[in-house]
Symmetry: C2
Subunit: 205 residues, 2 copies
DNA sequence: TTCCTGACTTTTTTAACAAAACTATCAAAA
DNA sequence: TTTTGATAGTTTTGTTAAAAAAGTCAGGAA
């Protein structure tokens, strides 16, 4: 029985990998179940044996990405030498994550509103986890006596994350496309580091 | 000739006022030229005598709003006692402006992309003006010796304005609707003030 | 019993087109 | 010069049919 489940799990993994590649290169709407099945040399019907529907499949891929991302963060945010290093690592990791999976998120660019509820649950979970990790980093520093006490770390981190999220590019053509263009990600990253620098100073001042 | 132009200008003003009301209450797409004409008891054709088309009319209203907004800012940002007061006034004024004209901007919510170029020009001008005013505030404080020198005020203000703009609401349902809902504006405002507080500290630390 | 498929049904997307609503124009009147 | 009714032109909306993709199922293979 364990073996059977192992086999199942392996196949599910294969499906998730193939789906990830398709979604990553062509986006959600330009990927068909037939194509994914084709990549794996299996019938479309089999995909439905493993996953209830297309959106669930996408969500499963996204959940995996989110888990890996958070694992990376956790590993490092358990041991850091100072607050700035911790926050910088978060910003850098996030940047890398977006760059590597840019096209995967075309789902967000196109569907704008009315995405499946499960998507927002994942987004919420990730944000909650990030918030917790960063908030803990602050608490740790306070306990160590490295920085002066902070009244409400969660609130502070919440605001910081919003602020970082808000960083856009193009001072002149300020057209706020909901999702930043890929060619702007580097500039945005730089600006985020600048904001972070000032914010940390303000926090530890 | 002066009289004739005065008359024209007065009528143009009347049209702008009526249009403003319509746009404010029903938004751009739900306002028809017939309705505006009806409000003024004039024919639709006459509107086209004063304004080339509907979008130009909207833009004219927007330009007026922008001018008034900037005038308010300029008045106060020429005389302030400290940096925090200046920045806080900007945030408060902006908040008030958005609250008062919330529905007017439904144009932005709906059209998302591909707005008339002229709209973005105004947005750019306003942002540029705000940036200049706040940047000058910093320079003034530096000259007064009230705060320590700042290497690049424009860059700092640019990042701050992005950050403020990015403040959203709803930690759980983080659905990033491009434009904040009206019922969230107050909470957003509060969060902005918190961000501002930390940012200023970081700047003057 | 678990895994898998081809054939089938249902749903969604796309394209074409007509009707309706609205924008924009213009000759002529005030 | 200012104003309008009539009308031309364009965009939006609604309808329908065909095509494409999602999703189902009875039954076969392991």
């Amino acid at each position: 029985m364990a073996a059977a489940n192992d086999q199942q799990d392996i196949k599910r993994e294969k499906i998730l990998e193939a789906s990830h590649q398709r979604f990553l290169h062509y986006g959600y709407s330009k990927t068909t179940m037939n194509e994914i099945a084709g990549d794996l040399s299996m019938s479309k019907a089999l995909l439905y044996y493993y996953f209830p529907d297309k959106s669930q499949l996408y969500i499963a891929v996204m959940r995996k990405l989110a888990t890996d991302y958070l694992k990376t963060l956790e590993n490092r945010l358990n041991s850091f030498t100072n607050l700035k290093e911790a926050f910088t690592f978060q910003v850098n990791t996030h940047h890398e994550f977006i760059v590597n999976n840019y096209n995967f998120f075309d789902f967000f660019r196109l569907n704008e509103q009315n995405l499946p509820e499960a998507i927002w649950e994942i987004v919420g979970e990730v944000r909650g986890a990030e918030l917790g990790l960063l908030s803990n980093a602050i608490k740790t520093e306070v306990e160590k006596g490295a920085i002066k006490p902070v009244e409400n770390p969660d609130e502070i981190v919440d605001v910081l994350m919003d602020a970082l999220h808000g960083i856009r590019v193009g001072s002149i053509s300020q057209k706020k496309t909901n999702f930043p263009r890929k060619e702007h990600l580097e500039e945005i990253h730089t600006k985020k580091l600048l904001l972070l620098d000032i914010f940390i100073k303000g926090l530890t001042a």
